[in-house]
C-alpha cells in the first residue's frame, strides 16, 4: 500500500469540498490540505448542475424568521433546528463572499438590484441565480480560487475507508483508491472531511451526477459514525424521459409547474385532481412525485413508464422566455414543448439523510467532519429547492473553519494497523465465477430494487422483501472477480460502487422500516398518516461487533414548537422571469 500524509484530507470535489478547502487554507495557510476526488475536482458532483438557484434573505421585506419557518415546514418539523438556523443566517455571508471575493456574479434586475425568483415552498421570492446555470458559476469560481491557493488536488482518487485509531473513536486518515494505478493509498491525516454528495443515484432513475454512490455515507457507517434520517430521499416530479438514453431522469425545472403546467396520465386526465385537488400541480415535490408513481402503478402511465408534462397552453413565447434551457433540452430529445406534451417521471434528486453533524460539521467520531449532501439533519424530511446548494456553501465554509480551529490543539492519531489491513483485504485479487461486467448489471438491479421498494412508496412487506434481494445482490457481487491489477478498470470501480450502494440501501431500508408513519418524502402505504404527536429522528450506528442499531431521538425544539408552524406550503405562482442577462430596461 502506498503511503501519504497531510493535515487535512478532504474527500469529495463538489461545492462543499471546495468551499471547505478554501476556508481551511485561508484560516491557516500553513495547513497541508489534500483534496481527493473520485472524478475531476469541480467537474463531478451536483453543485455544478444547480439550475434553480440559492435561497438567501437579502430583501428588506424578507426575514430570517420567514426563511427559517419555510425550511422547517418543508422539513415536516424534524429538521435539526440549530443546523437549519445556521443555514438561514449564514446564507447571506456566503453570497457576499462568493460575489465580492471569489468572483461569482448573480443576475440583476434592470435597476441593478439582485434578482430573486420564487421557488416552491417559499413565502418570499428569495432564490438568487445566474440564468439557469447557477451551478456552473459557483463551481467554476470556487475551483479557480482553490487552484489559486495551490492546494494539493488529486483527481480520480476515491475514498474507500476511514482509518481509525486503536480505540476506534478517532479518525486518523483514510484509505483511498487510485483509478489510474489501481493502488490503494493510505493517507494519514489529522482531520478528514467527507463531502461526497450522498447517494441519490442509488435509484434506477436519478437526476444526480452518476458517480455519487453513497461512498462517504458507507465509509462513515463502516467506521461507526452516527447517521441520521437515512429514510429521507427526495424525488423530483419532472425528470425527463428520453427513450433508453442516459439523459433520462435529468430534471425539468419546477418553474414549469409553477407557471401553470399540467400533468396528464396516459389517458389525458389531470390526475392531480385525485390526490390534491386544491393545489393540483402546484402541490409539493413529494406529493406530486408520489401521485405520479401511484398513476404508474395503477397502469395509467405510458408504456415507457411516464406521465406527461403539458405546457402547450403557456405558449411558445412564454416558454422561450422563461425556460430557454429546458426548451432546448426537450427539443434535443424530440419534444417541442410548445406543441408536444413531454414525457416525465419522478427522479431521485437529493438525499436529506446523512452523517449526523453539529453546527461545526463535527461527526460523532473525533477528527471526522462532514458537509453538504453527505451530512443530514438540515432539511428534515424534505428539502426546499434552493436550500441544497446553500447548505453546501454554508457548511462547507464552516467545516473549513472548524477544522482549522480543531487543528490548533489537536494532533494526529496513529491508525490501527489491523483495521487498515482488514479494509485492504477487500482488494486482494480473487477469481470470480461471474464476468467483471456483471457489476454493471448488479448496479442496474439494485437501482430497480431501490426504485420499487425503497422509493416513493414503501411498505413493511416491500421493505422485508428488499432485505432478501439485497442479500442476493451482495452474494452475486462477491462472485465478480477482483483483478490482480485494478488499474484503469471501470468494472472494478463499479464493483466498489455497488458495495457501497448495498450498505446505503440497507440503512435506508432499516430506517424506512422503523419510521412507521408517513412524513415528508417518506411514505408508507401501510401507515399513510403522519404521527401528529411524535417528532423524532432516526439515528443509526454500527458498533464494533458489526451490528447496526437504530434509535428514535426526539427532535429538540430549541427555536420553534410545532404549534408555531401550522399550515402547509405550495409551489409559488411564477411570473415569467426576465430573459437571461437581460440588457433591456
Amino acid at each position: 500500500m502506498e503511503r501519504a500524509s497531510c493535515d487535512v484530507l478532504i474527500i469529495g470535489g463538489g461545492g462543499a469540498a471546495l468551499y471547505a478547502a478554501i476556508h481551511c487554507h485561508d484560516a491557516n495557510p500553513r495547513l497541508d490540505i489534500m483534496l481527493a476526488c473520485k472524478g475531476l475536482v469541480g467537474k463531478s458532483g451536483c453543485t455544478r448542475m444547480v439550475q434553480g438557484g440559492y435561497n438567501v434573505v437579502l430583501h428588506p421585506e424578507d426575514s430570517f424568521d420567514q426563511h427559517y419557518d419555510d425550511t422547517l415546514r418543508g422539513g415536516s418539523l424534524i429538521n435539526d433546528q440549530e443546523l437549519a438556523w445556521t443555514l438561514v443566517t449564514e446564507a447571506p455571508k456566503r453570497i457576499f463572499e462568493l460575489e465580492n471575493r471569489y468572483g461569482c456574479f448573480f443576475d440583476r434586475n434592470a435597476d441593478g438590484t439582485i434578482h430573486q425568483r420564487p421557488l416552491a415552498g417559499q413565502s418570499f421570492n428569495r432564490t438568487i441565480h445566474r440564468g439557469d446555470l447557477t451551478g456552473i458559476e459557483l463551481i467554476s469560481r470556487l475551483t479557480e480560487q482553490a487552484f489559486a491557493r495551490r492546494l494539493r488536488v488529486v483527481n480520480d482518487l476515491r475514498g474507500v475507508d476511514l482509518l481509525l485509531d486503536q480505540g476506534g473513536r478517532r479518525v486518523a486518515g483514510a484509505i483511498l483508491f487510485d483509478y489510474h494505478s489501481g493502488a490503494l493509498v493510505r493517507v494519514q491525516a489529522k482531520a478528514v472531511l467527507l463531502a461526497t454528495g450522498g447517494a441519490a443515484p442509488l435509484y434506477r432513475i436519478t437526476a444526480a451526477s452518476i458517480e455519487k454512490t453513497g461512498d462517504g455515507l458507507a465509509m462513515a457507517w463502516r467506521a461507526g459514525a452516527e447517521l441520521i434520517d437515512m429514510e429521507m430521499m427526495q424525488f423530483h416530479p419532472t425528470g425527463l424521459i428520453a427513450g433508453g438514453g442516459a439523459i433520462t431522469g435529468t430534471v425539468l425545472e419546477e418553474g414549469l409547474r409553477g407557471a401553470g403546467g399540467h400533468l396528464l396520465n396516459a389517458a389525458g386526465e389531470r390526475f392531480m385532481e385525485r390526490y390534491d385537488p386544491a393545489r393540483m400541480e402546484r402541490s409539493t415535490r413529494d406529493r406530486v412525485s408520489r401521485s405520479e408513481f401511484m398513476e404508474l402503478r395503477a397502469g395509467r402511465g405510458t408504456s415507457e413508464g411516464g406521465v406527461f408534462l403539458d405546457v402547450r397552453h403557456l405558449g411558445k413565447d412564454f416558454l422561450l422566455r422563461s425556460s430557454p434551457g429546458m426548451y432546448r433540452r426537450c427539443l434535443s430529445v424530440g419534444y417541442d414543448m410548445a406543441t408536444d406534451p413531454v414525457m416525465v417521471t419522478p427522479t431521485a434528486h437529493f438525499q436529506m439523510g446523512g452523517i449526523r453533524i453539529d453546527r461545526d460539521c463535527r461527526s460523532s467520531l473525533l477528527g471526522l467532519f462532514a458537509a453538504g449532501e453527505d451530512a443530514g439533519g438540515v432539511h428534515g424530511a424534505n428539502r426546499l429547492g434552493g436550500n441544497g446548494v446553500a447548505e453546501s456553501m454554508v457548511f462547507g465554509a464552516r467545516a473549513g473553519d472548524a477544522i482549522a480551529a480543531y487543528l490548533k490543539d489537536a494532533g494526529g492519531a496513529t491508525p490501527d494497523r489491523d483495521r487498515a489491513e482488514n479494509s485492504a483485504a477487500r482488494f486482494t485479487a480473487a477469481k470470480g465465477r461471474a464476468a467483471p461486467g456483471r457489476a454493471y448489471e448488479l448496479r442496474a438491479e439494485i437501482g430497480d430494487l431501490a426504485w420499487q421498494n425503497l422509493g416513493l412508496i414503501r411498505s413493511a412487506a416491500g421493505l422485508d422483501q428488499a432485505a432478501g434481494r439485497l442479500a442476493e445482490i451482495e452474494a452475486a457481487l462477491a462472485e465478480t472477480p477482483v483483478p490482480a491489477s485494478a488499474a484503469r478498470d471501470p468494472a472494478f470501480a463499479e464493483r466498489l460502487n455497488v458495495e457501497n450502494l448495498i450498505a446505503v440501501a440497507r440503512l435506508i431500508r432499516a430506517a424506512a422500516h422503523e419510521r412507521d408513519e408517513s412524513r415528508g418524502s417518506h411514505f408508507r402505504e401501510d401507515r399513510p398518516e403522519t404521527d401528529a404527536g411524535a417528532y423524532y429522528n432516526l439515528v443509526q450506528r454500527r458498533d464494533p461487533s458489526g451490528t447496526t442499531s437504530i434509535q428514535r431521538q426526539a427532535v429538540a425544539f430549541t427555536r420553534r414548537r410545532p404549534e408555531d408552524l401550522a399550515g402547509d406550503t405550495v409551489i409559488a405562482k411564477a411570473a415569467p422571469r426576465p430573459a437571461l442577462h437581460a440588457t433591456e430596461i
Partner: protein, 232 residues
C-alpha cells in the same frame, strides 16, 4: 435523413487499437454517450470514458466524434447522418485511458495566468453592489461567461496547427477578469499574458466547437486589442 437502427461505432483505444462495435440505436436522439454505455455494459467492460452530469454542464465527456470535438452526452447520433461513428479522445492532451484525457494542461493554463478574481477593497463587503445588467463591461463579461473547461477548444486549437501560450479557455477567462471592475489587477493582468498564436481559420474553428457557444475568437481578438492599446 433516415433513422438508423444500428451504427458501427469505432473507438480509439488506449493501446492504439480501434475497437469496432455494431450498436443498436434506440432513436435518432440517442447520444454518443448512450452508444459508449452500451459497449461498456454489453461488449467490453473495460472501456474507459468519463461522464457525470449527462446534460452538458460538467464538460468531462468531451471527445472527438468523426473528427470534431463535442460532448458525448449532447451529440445526437441521428444528427451525424452516417453509418460509422468514430470516437477519439481530445487532441493535444495526454490520453489516460481510451477516451479519458488528462485535463490538467487546460486547468494548469488557467492557474498559470492567475485566473481567479483578486478581490480589491470591496472584497469584504457585506452587501451586493447595485449593478444594472447593462452597465459598463457587464454585458461583455457575460457574453464570455459559462466555460465548462471541457478541453474542446484546446483540442481544436491543437488540430489547427498547435498554439503557443495559454489555451483559449484561459485567454477567455483572462479577458473576463481584465474587464471586471471588481478585480484588483484588472487590465494590469494583460501585460504579463503570453500571446496566443493561432491563424484566423483556427480561431474560427474554436467558436464552432465550443459546446456552450462562447465566442472565443472574439475574446482572443479583444484581448489582443486591449494589449495593443495598453502598449504591450
Amino acid at each position: 435523413m433516415t433513422a438508423r437502427d444500428h451504427v458501427t461505432l469505432e473507438i480509439a483505444r488506449a493501446d492504439g487499437r480501434r475497437s469496432r462495435h455494431v450498436v443498436p440505436v434506440a432513436g435518432a436522439h440517442m447520444r454518443v454517450l448512450d452508444l459508449l454505455l452500451h459497449v461498456r455494459n454489453h461488449a467490453d467492460a473495460t472501456l474507459g470514458f468519463r461522464y457525470a452530469c449527462r446534460v452538458g454542464m460538467c464538460g468531462v465527456c468531451a471527445v472527438r466524434v468523426n473528427g470534431t470535438e463535442g460532448l458525448a452526452c449532447q451529440v445526437a447520433v441521428g444528427d451525424l447522418g452516417v453509418d460509422t461513428v468514430t470516437v477519439e479522445p481530445l487532441a493535444g492532451l495526454p490520453v489516460q485511458h481510451d477516451l479519458m484525457v488528462d485535463l490538467a494542461p487546460v486547468l494548469n493554463d488557467l492557474a498559470a495566468i492567475g485566473a481567479a478574481l483578486e478581490g480589491g477593497d470591496a472584497a469584504g463587503a457585506e452587501s451586493l453592489r447595485t449593478l444594472p445588467p447593462s452597465a459598463g463591461e457587464r454585458p461583455a463579461i457575460e457574453r464570455q461567461n459559462g466555460c465548462i473547461t471541457c478541453g474542446a477548444c484546446t483540442s481544436a486549437a491543437h488540430r489547427g496547427g498547435g498554439a503557443a501560450g495559454p489555451g483559449p479557455a484561459a485567454l477567455n477567462r483572462a479577458l473576463m477578469l481584465a474587464l471586471d471592475e471588481r478585480d484588483a489587477k484588472g487590465r494590469k493582468r494583460l501585460a504579463n499574458l503570453p500571446a496566443m498564436t493561432l491563424s484566423d481559420a483556427a480561431l474560427k474553428s474554436l467558436d464552432a466547437v465550443c459546446p456552450v457557444g462562447i465566442p472565443l475568437a472574439a475574446a482572443v481578438r479583444r484581448l489582443q486589442g486591449l494589449r495593443a492599446g495598453a502598449g504591450g
